[in-house]
Amino acid sequence: MQPVAGGALLSPWTPGIFSLSLYTIFVLVIITALLFLSSWLGEKKPTPEKLRPYECGIIPSGTARLKYPIPFYLVAIFFLIFDVEAAFIFSWAVACENLGWAGWLQMSYFIFVLLIGLVYIWKKGGLEWGPESSEK
């Protein structure tokens, strides 16, 4: 698709931003309608037992906002790093043929460094889960 020109912006014939916005509205209307129908037709007889969070029949104790293990934070941080780099690779991928061998060499070097980073967090135990990982 070519970038949309000013006059074609609101044209229903071009599959661009206009049709996307319309589709988004459509989807939102469907979801809202389903939720509205549910709240309109649904039963409403709450009791304290029904509203208690489910813990296999045991009465919950303490807060449910638990602290969770560090590896989850680590995964989030690794993801952040690798995802930004994936975005960088995407921008090269579109023009890969035009950039030629010079571009390929640079990108290979970049990916090589990325892989070294992956091996490093691997060796450091950043990708390990379960009881063994905390004993190291």
Binding site: M1, Q2, P3, S11, P12, W13, T14, G16, I17, L20, L22, Y23, V27, L28, I30, I31, L34, L35, S38, S39, L41, G42, E43, K45, P46, K50, L51, R52, P53, Y54, E55, P60, A64, R65, L66, Y68, F72, V75, A76, F79, F82, D83, A86, I89, F90, A93, V94, C96, E97, W101, W104, M107, S108, I111, L115, L118, W122, L127, W129, G130
Partner: protein
């Protein structure tokens, strides 16, 4: 102006058909899944509502709408209400960039068989699947239940890990097609489907896609027998229904993306283009159901090991090799 109105009506019709097919197929995928899983396990599956249980999805829909919509004590009201809508919304919106046929000419104008041919279509899809993580993580967190929280966190970590390999496995496709637009990617497969050019990418993509949709063998965030139902345990009524719709629409979207990126999209002989896309979507979905009926659930460390230690390096090396091969040819 008359042309604008005709175009507008056609656009509305097109969207209504797309959404109708998506939602109807989602309902009948649930039916197909229950029926097939039952047959795999030598049971009958739903067979009371209508012939072969064919009315079961409709009965389920009515049941979900009329069920009580509970919100557990201490739940974060706003986020609890928002989370299922986010899941269904992102899944439905992803289909906007999937092309389902060649341009046809009506009233002297070209009618494109795609809702929105964004030139960053692939990035749009990856962005939306990132947004889908919010539905899972926030839904689990807002429920004020320990199981839900565990499910939500597991789901978030799993989805972001596999999103990485999902994105990386598509880079070779972008390199060959030279475009991020899904329409152009389908056109680039006129002579040969990318599954034959990029089999490694295909395998990485399919595994990541299954992990993204949180299905067995990757259903650790839901894990019935340890977490109840994980992040959507506290949901009832139509809010649970939206999680359900989201999951099955997501399955179809992943089938459509598999078709677009690797199986030639809507291209095929004899039958009309949208029918071919539909056939490919259903085939991929059936394979996913088959896998669900066959494999046991992975352990969490195995899940993370496959994602980070196998798929990500394999995808990165595949990019380098593909680049070299493209430049040599």
């Amino acid at each position: 102006m008359a042309s604008w109105i005709i175009g507008f009506v056609l656009l509305l019709l097109k969207m209504a058909v797309v959404l109708g097919v998506l939602l109807l197929l989602a309902a009948y995928l649930v039916w197909a899944e229950r029926k097939l899983l039952a047959r795999f396990q030598v049971r009958y599956g739903p067979n009371r509502a209508g012939k072969f249980g064919l009315l079961q999805p409709i009965a389920d829909g009515i049941k979900m709408i009329t069920k009580e919509d509970l919100m557990p004590d201490g739940a974060d009201r706003f986020i609890f209400l928002l989370a299922p809508a986010v899941v269904a919304f992102t899944a439905l919106l992803m289909f906007a960039v999937v092309p389902f046929g060649e341009e046809i000419t009506l009233f002297g104008q070209n009618v494109p068989m795609v809702i929105s041919d964004l030139n960053v279509g692939l990035l749009f899809i990856i962005a939306l699947s990132s947004l889908g993580v919010y539905g899972v993580a926030l839904g689990g967190w807002a429920s004020n239940s320990k199981y839900s929280l565990l499910g939500g966190i597991r789901g978030a970590a799993q989805m972001i890990s596999y999103e990485l390999s999902l994105g990386l496995s598509l880079i070779p496709i972008v390199m060959i097609a030279g475009s991020l637009s899904l329409v152009d990617i389908v056109k680039a497969q006129q002579n040969v489907w990318f599954i034959f050019v990029q089999p490694v990418s295909f395998v990485i993509f399919l595994i990541s896609a299954m992990a993204e949709s949180k299905r067995i063998p990757f259903d650790i965030p839901e894990a019935e027998n340890e977490l109840g139902a994980g992040y959507h345990m506290e949901y009832s009524g139509m809010r649970f229904g939206l999680f359900f719709i989201g999951e099955y629409v997501h399955m179809q979207v992943l089938g459509a993306l598999t078709a677009v990126f690797f199986l030639g999209g809507w291209q095929g002989p004899f039958l009309p283009a949208p029918v071919w896309l539909l056939i490919k979507i259903v085939m991929v979905a059936l394979v996913m159901i088959w896998i669900r009926g066959t494999l046991p659930r992975l352990r969490y460390d195995q899940l993370m090991a496959i994602g980070w230690k196998v798929l990500v390096p394999a995808a990165l090396i595949n990019i380098v090799i593909t680049g070299a091969v493209i430049l040599i040819i």
